[in-house]
């Protein structure tokens, strides 16, 4: 049975309601809050993300998706709450340690390291490099062999993402779409167990979007857990195994992708509710 079908059948038994427990959660959050002044940007009570699944985080602009992302990956500080990743407490952990634990993120506005070559961008991603110590750096024999092994792995990834012909070009010369691929390849150099992708499709042309989609589903099939924030509904419907919808910082709905387009709470959040009409759940279906 292909991984996609397998994952869908695993998640089919999960009740489609906010905070639903998953059979094998990799990330579990409890009471995560973040406010900016008087604005409560994130107020997520309980959320579990299934290991090995692609979970899409959707919601209208300003719903707090990216803030939630930043908090989970250590790029922003939560005001309160706890979350565990693979059983480890993660609250308050600095971003670089979160990445070393295996939760690696990408950015909405791609961060290609412009004046490093494409290859160097990838080499940077490898963790526990002996040559990254200031004194060891001076003695090449200490890290030369490791560097070579890392380079081999980087070349494999470049080939996989069809960036091998750009290997020695500055990353700043790449097109927007190529940068997205580069960022994904670079994140994989960290050997993550979970990828957090912040709007991977933003500003990518349709052809490249297809290839990115395939890469992401392939990674899931290889056992990686993926969570992404996305506005592109085609991508959400086409790739994700589970959808979580945020609005005004709170989870308003969860469920299989096909069910979420018809979920009245989601429709309300995106399109708004006519003034004076009762909330969606009170309407006759």
């Amino acid at each position: 049975m292909p991984a996609e079908v397998a994952m869908k059948s695993v998640l089919a038994g999960v009740p489609p309601e906010p905070g639903a427990p998953k059979p094998d959660p990799i990330l579990v959050t409890d009471g995560v809050t973040r406010s900016f002044g008087g604005l409560q940007a994130v107020n997520v009570d309980h959320l579990e993300l299934q290991r090995g699944a692609i979970t899409a985080l959707i919601g209208p602009n300003g719903a707090g998706k990216t803030t939630f992302f930043n908090v989970l990956t250590g790029f922003d500080r939560a005001d309160g709450g706890k979350w565990t990743f693979e059983g480890h407490q993660m609250a308050g952990m600095p971003a670089y340690q979160v990445a070393r634990r295996g939760m690696v993120r990408t950015f909405q506005l791609t961060k290609a390291l412009a004046r490093l070559t494409v290859l160097e961008n990838l080499l940077l991603g490898a963790t526990a490099q002996r040559g990254e110590g200031m004194f060891a750096a001076l003695v090449r024999p200490l890290w030369g062999a490791q560097e070579k092994a890392i380079q081999e792995r980087a070349d494999e990834l470049l080939e996989r993402f069809k960036l091998d012909h750009l290997r020695d070009k500055f990353a700043g010369t790449l097109s927007g779409g190529q940068r997205k691929l580069l960022e994904l390849a670079r994140a994989l150099m960290v050997r993550p167990t979970m990828l957090m992708l912040d709007e991977p499709m933003a500003g990518v042309n349709p052809a490249l979007a297809q290839s990115l989609l395939h890469h992401i589903t392939d990674l899931r099939d290889e056992g990686l857990t993926v969570c992404f924030v996305e506005h592109d509904m085609d991508m959400v419907m086409g790739t994700s195994d589970w959808v979580v919808c945020l609005a005004e910082g709170e989870i308003i709905a969860e469920g299989l992708p096909q069910s979420c387009g018809t979920n009245p709470a989601v429709v309300d959040a995106y399109l708004g509710r006519a003034h004076g009409t009762p909330p969606a759940e009170e309407l006759p279906s």
Partner: protein, 330 residues
């Protein structure tokens, strides 16, 4: 006007110990600014603590020269930590603010009257480098390098200064072409990307600040060894901006940029100075328009103009690559 003498003076300036001292300080600044993207506007402060570390240890406490040099290096490490620990977690502007203030505070502190028993106040400290000249292995005499004539003493301090420059250049070359250097350069490009790949950006920025500061402190030492005198006013904030000028001239983020930049910078400054003085002396410039005592200020105004033109027409400097400059996405 005597063009031969202008040329000789300018060459003297270009290869002299002062140019070596500035090259060293600029190599440190290159580590900060050129490779890590740290805006350090107080490099002169690192030179000052290096210079006074030696001067005070030797002339006030009577310690041997090498201990004094060690004190100078340790002072630079302490200064880097004091500046870096509170500011390097913040946006890059804060380091700039802290360093520009620290450089000036240090100068005012060392020249203040209450510090005079130790620092010599405005008069500074003299004759602390005798040990250094006692080590001179070059037999006394006159040494001719083309048109330049050097005494054995001059040759010794010049060789010492440029020797240190070459060592520092080699050190930076090795570091930059290592995984450590890759992390440092990635922080210059985008520190959040480096963070997302598991790099402890804060620790790397601190290491870079300490390393560049220590190299800068050697620049301060060479400067005061040359004159056997450490006075606070030779560590004016403007020195930092000369360092930036020569770094941009040579090419920031290039290993040999500071070395070439310093040689060219001093060649240009000294030749401007002696050309102006000779032109005034010969009456080409009437002395009521510009007097000889004002020529010094004019040459630095011209340096400012030069920096301006450089930034507009060749921001990558002499050794820099244009295509890299275009990629500066920030």
């Amino acid at each position: 006007m005597d063009f031969a003498s202008i040329l000789t003076t300018a060459l003297n300036g270009a290869i002299g110990p002062v140019a070596a001292a500035y090259a060293l300080a600029a190599i440190g600044l290159n580590v900060h600014f050129g490779y890590t993207g740290l805006l350090n506007f107080g490099q002169v402060g690192f030179m000052l603590v290096g210079a006074y570390g030696v001067a005070i240890s030797v002339s006030v406490f009577g310690l041997p020269l090498w201990v004094g040099m060690l004190v100078g290096v340790l002072s630079a490490v302490v200064l880097a930590l004091l500046l870096g620990l509170p500011t390097l977690r913040l946006r890059s502007d804060y380091l700039a603010i802290a360093t520009i203030a620290a450089g000036e505070i240090l100068r005012l502190f060392y020249r203040s009257s209450f510090a005079e028993p130790v620092t010599g106040g405005v008069f500074g400290l003299q004759r602390f480098a005798n040990d250094f000249y006692d080590l001179n292995p070059i037999p006394p005499g006159r040494y001719e390098l083309g048109p330049i004539i050097l005494s054995s003493r001059d040759l010794w301090v010049t060789l010492f200064g440029w020797g240190l420059v070459l060592l520092a250049t080699l050190l930076v070359y090795l570091l930059i072409h290592s995984p450590w250097g890759r992390v440092i350069r990635s922080i210059r490009e985008d520190e959040f990307a480096a963070l997302s790949l598991g790099k402890n950006v804060y620790a790397y920025k601190l290491q870079s600040l300490v390393l560049g500061g220590v190299i800068g402190s050697f620049g301060g030492m060479v400067l005061v060894f040359n004159t056997q005198s450490a006075s606070p006013d030779s560590f004016d904030p403007v020195v930092t901006f000369f360092l930036y000028t020569l770094l941009v001239l040579g090419g920031a983020g290039r290993v040999f940029g500071p070395l070439l930049g310093s040689v060219l910078f001093w060649f240009i400054v000294v030749s401007l100075d002696s050309t102006l003085r000779q032109a005034i002396g010969a009456g080409y410039i009437p002395s009521d328009v510009l007097s000889a005592s004002e020529a010094g200020a004019v040459r630095f105004a011209l340096v400012g103009l030069g920096l301006l033109l450089l930034m507009v027409y060749r921001p990558q400097g002499i050794l820099g690559r244009k295509e890299e400059m275009v990629l500066d996405a920030r």
